[in-house]
């Protein structure tokens, strides 16, 4: 069973002071859901107070309450910037409250769809197709199992970045294989509070890993990386780490690209798992890296986490992704990220905003540097 934080002991300790709305220098609103909605209900403090009110029957569950709870992308900006001692538990509180809501059957419609598709089809969209046959490298006692994750498998833009990664791995001869019938690792189910579903997916995956002797997982998806590393307790490697190692030890020879680069930290890689250096070292080797004002622990979430890439509670004209790409366009010519969810969200936002900016996964940039 997943450990659930006892939020009844924590929620009343939130002062609703709003430190958690900001990055370190207070320059902008850094909670993506508050940036979009601007009602006091949509930031960490508002959620803490609403959870308490719901727990004490001062307000009833409603579709609106559900949307407020699920528009939190679990980006952990609040964890980073809340000045109280319980800061580390904030996102755990939201996850636990969602889980209690799930247990009572209280989830907003779109979230319900997400769960039922995941349960029935192993992916949020309900696609029936098998997933990674096209790769043509079924896992057979390789060094790595390459786990693509749902978004890189099904979203066209993210799929292109997966192909770039495979090309790179092949170029150096990394020993990997895939499960052509890969199933979701369940990170989103977990952070969305569907612990039962997450455990079921983890169980299925673990069984398959055991049967086929998987020891190490390589993934371009920080969400999956998070689940494998922290919940499955596996040896997990994110592609930024592997690529940096390959470049650093000379196995991948890269030249420099001429465009100005900037890097968007995916929340599940950065704030959740502290991987900030490798992508930066890699990009600095390839080109000129310019930081956006909000970077590393202060990075501004694309608004896709915690199922929001599907539920779209953080979409629309004031979406965090649209705010983020404007920030990137003021900084550089290419916005690089290292997460299929961020890639999809930011790429769509660039089209919506009609910007010149290019959005690329880090593997696409490395591939270009390799070829040029």
């Amino acid at each position: 069973m997943m450990e659930k934080v006892n939020y009844a002991e924590i929620v009343h300790r939130c002062f609703r002071c709003g430190y958690c709305k900001f990055p370190s220098d207070y320059s902008e609103i850094n909670c993506p859901s508050y940036a979009k909605y601007r009602f006091e209900t949509y930031f960490s403090g508002g959620r803490m107070w609403l959870i308490r009110a719901w727990m004490n029957n001062e307000i009833e569950w409603s579709e609106h309450l559900g949307e407020i709870m699920y528009s939190c992308s679990t980006c952990r900006n609040c964890v980073e910037h809340c000045v109280f001692k319980f800061n580390e538990q904030l996102v755990d509180v939201f996850i636990a409250a969602r889980s209690d809501m799930v247990e009572r059957g209280q989830v907003p419609k779109k979230v319900g769809e997400f769960f039922s598709n995941l349960a029935k089809f192993g992916n949020p969209w309900g696609y029936a197709a098998r997933r990674l046959e096209w790769v043509g490298r079924d896992y057979a006692n390789n060094e790595f199992l390459l786990h693509a994750g749902c978004v890189a498998t099904y979203d066209d833009r993210a799929k292109r970045s997966l192909k770039a990664l495979l090309e790179l791995l092949d170029a150096v001869g990394v020993d990997y294989g895939v499960f052509s019938d890969e199933i979701c690792e369940g990170n989103e189910a977990m952070v969305m509070g569907e612990f039962g579903l997450f455990e079921q997916l983890m169980e299925q995956n673990r069984r398959r890993f055991e049967e086929r002797g998987v020891k190490k997982v390589l993934t371009p998806d920080p969400h999956a990386f998070n689940a494998f590393k922290n919940y499955y307790g596996m040896d997990a490697v994110h592609h930024t780490q592997l690529l940096w190692n390959l470049v650093n030890n000379g196995e991948l020879k890269v030249r420099r690209v001429k465009e100005k680069l900037t890097y968007h930290d995916p929340c599940f890689l950065g704030r959740w798992n502290g991987v900030y250096k490798e992508p930066r070292k890699l990009l600095s080797r390839i080109g000129s890296l310019y930081e956006m004002p909000r970077n590393r622990k202060d990075s501004f979430c694309c608004g896709g986490g915690s199922g929001n890439f599907y539920t779209d509670y953080l979409g629309g004209k004031d979406s965090p992704a649209r705010i983020r790409v404007k920030e990137a366009a003021e900084t550089a010519e290419i916005l690089v990220t290292s997460c299929p969810v961020c890639l999809m969200m930011l790429d769509n936002a660039v089209s919506d905003e009609g910007l010149e900016l290019e959005v690329r996964d880090i593997s696409e940039v490395v591939l270009e540097a390799l070829k040029s």
Binding site: H12, Y26, R38, F39, E40, T41, H64, V83
Partner: protein, 467 residues
């Protein structure tokens, strides 16, 4: 007809939607719940609607609509004054101003900024740090989402108040939506394109400062900026006798070498118990200047040091960093003393001379009521007065504990008035205590001003209510 407790009407929701757009108005229980209270002890009062305008025109339309339906309107900034001032005492529309967040102008040479009412202290500070590194605001130690406008309007104070006074004195002009819906400008901006000063005109700003939104909604504010120096340091002078403190403050202020002077006293941690800590901030443009200023301050207090009645505390780099942070985020953690997410304070505006009396009265109250406490004092002007905060933490999950804090606050408010001071940003009941002590002529004037500006009684009724 005067505005009485209002219950929402369906058509009004549609009208509000037409003004601000559907996504910026709510009548959902979740928003009404959150906007019914602030983090302090005052009991919740639910609004009927919450709206978030983006422009002055939208604010104007909201106020006109409120007049049409005789519905109260309550402006809100960061909701951090802690004394329940943004609760809609008679229901109605809470207007969250924070979407109006443009920094309109910084005039570097005339040292002022013009901001929309929703611009937060944090954002203006960050903006200046980045774009105008030689300029600064007088940052209050409130959490950074507090708005520059509301802070100035309630007579806030901050890091430069010892030199330049209350933040209300730093206001150079404003744009206001009057309770009748008319828009007007006060200060130099009413005559000129520049927002440099309130003088030499009739000082109409006084009609909106200190009124808790009872006389209009300020939509834009001109605020003074000040030189930012390269070096900043902090010294803490410790005494064990509160009767010395007003003299310590007087002497330090007399040197005119300190930028900010605060005093704090609290029973926890143990090493701090029984002592008064006078925190002195010094700024300079060179190390020599800093050394010189610090030396003059030390000399001013030499008698205390020689007589072993006081001394400077050794500060580790970590302690220095904590005290030099703006705003000092450590302060907010006081809300966790009782592991219950709450504190509120009576901010007593008092002559500095009354420090000892104020200190002893505070101790008497906390000992009698058995509440946790901290006293935190900021000097305003060259010891012209002080804001003496009697802060009481509480556990919001324990109603008895909240009630204890409420009682301590109420008793402190009364004691402050007895001592000859005035509670700052007073809760509605404390406003009544102030009015009870107020000169009859002043009360009549307050009443007439409200009736003249707000014939329908729609602007934040329940505040400064002269019975």
């Amino acid at each position: 007809m005067r505005c009485q407790k209002f219950r929402g009407v369906v058509e009004m929701y549609e009208e509000l939607k037409a003004i601000v757009g559907e996504e910026n108005v709510s009548k959902e229980p979740e928003e009404l719940y959150i906007y019914s209270s602030d983090p302090g002890t005052m009991p919740p009062v639910k609004p009927d609607y919450v709206v978030m305008p983006k422009t002055t025109e939208e604010v104007q339309k909201i106020v006109l609509l409120a007049n049409k339906h005789k519905v109260p309107v309550v402006p809100m900034g960061g909701a951090l004054s802690l004394s329940g001032l943004v609760r809609p005492l008679r229901g109605g529309i809470v207007v969250d101003m924070k979407r109006m967040d443009r920094i309109i102008e910084v005039n570097e040479r005339a040292r002022y900024a013009v901001v929309e009412a929703g611009v937060s202290e944090g954002r203006l500070k960050a903006y200046l740090d980045k774009k105008y590194p030689s300029l600064r605001i007088s940052t209050p130690d409130a959490p950074p989402i507090a708005t520059v406008t509301a802070n100035a309007l309630i007579h806030g104070s901050g890091r430069l108040s010892q030199i330049y006074g209350f933040h209300s004195e730093m206001v150079t002009g404003m744009e206001v939506v009057l309770p009748t819906g008319e828009v007007c400008r006060v200060g130099s901006c009413s005559v000129s394109p520049y927002w440099f000063s309130r003088s030499p005109l009739p000082d109409l700003a006084g009609l909106f400062i200190g009124w808790f939104g009872r006389t209009g909604i300020v939509t834009k504010l001109g605020i003074k900026l000040f030189p930012k120096h390269r070096y900043r340091d902090v010294m803490i002078f410790v005494t064990e006798n509160p009767s010395y403190v007003s003299d310590v403050i007087w002497k330090v202020a007399h040197t005119e070498m300190a930028e900010d002077i605060t005093v704090w006293a609290q029973p926890k941690p143990e090493w701090a118990e029984g002592f008064q800590h006078t925190t002195i901030y010094v700024t300079a443009d060179s190390e020599e200047e800093l050394e010189f200023k610090e030396k003059i301050i030390r000399n001013a207090l030499m008698d205390y040091i020689k007589q072993k009645e006081g001394g400077f505390l050794y500060l580790t780099p970590a302690m220095k960093a904590m005290f030099l942070q703006e705003p000092m985020s450590q302060l907010v953690r006081f809300a966790d003393v009782r592991k219950g997410g709450g504190f509120e304070y009576v901010g007593a505006i008092l002559p500095v001379d009354l420090f000892d009396v104020a200190y002893q009265r505070g101790l008497e109250i906390v000992e009698r009521l058995g509440v946790d406490w901290a006293f935190s004092i900021r000097i305003i002007g060259r010891s012209h007065c002080m804001m003496f905060a009697y802060a009481y933490p509480f556990n919001r999950a324990d109603e008895e504990d909240v009630e204890r804090a409420r009682k301590a606050l109420h008793e402190t408010n009364k004691a402050v008035l007895e001592m000859g001071g005035i509670p700052w940003k007073a809760e509605a009941p404390a406003q009544q205590l102030i009015l009870e002590s107020m000169d009859e002529g002043a009360k009549r004037l307050i009443k007439s001003v409200i009736e003249m500006l707000d014939p329908n009684g729609v602007m934040n009724p329940g505040n400064w209510e002269v019975k």
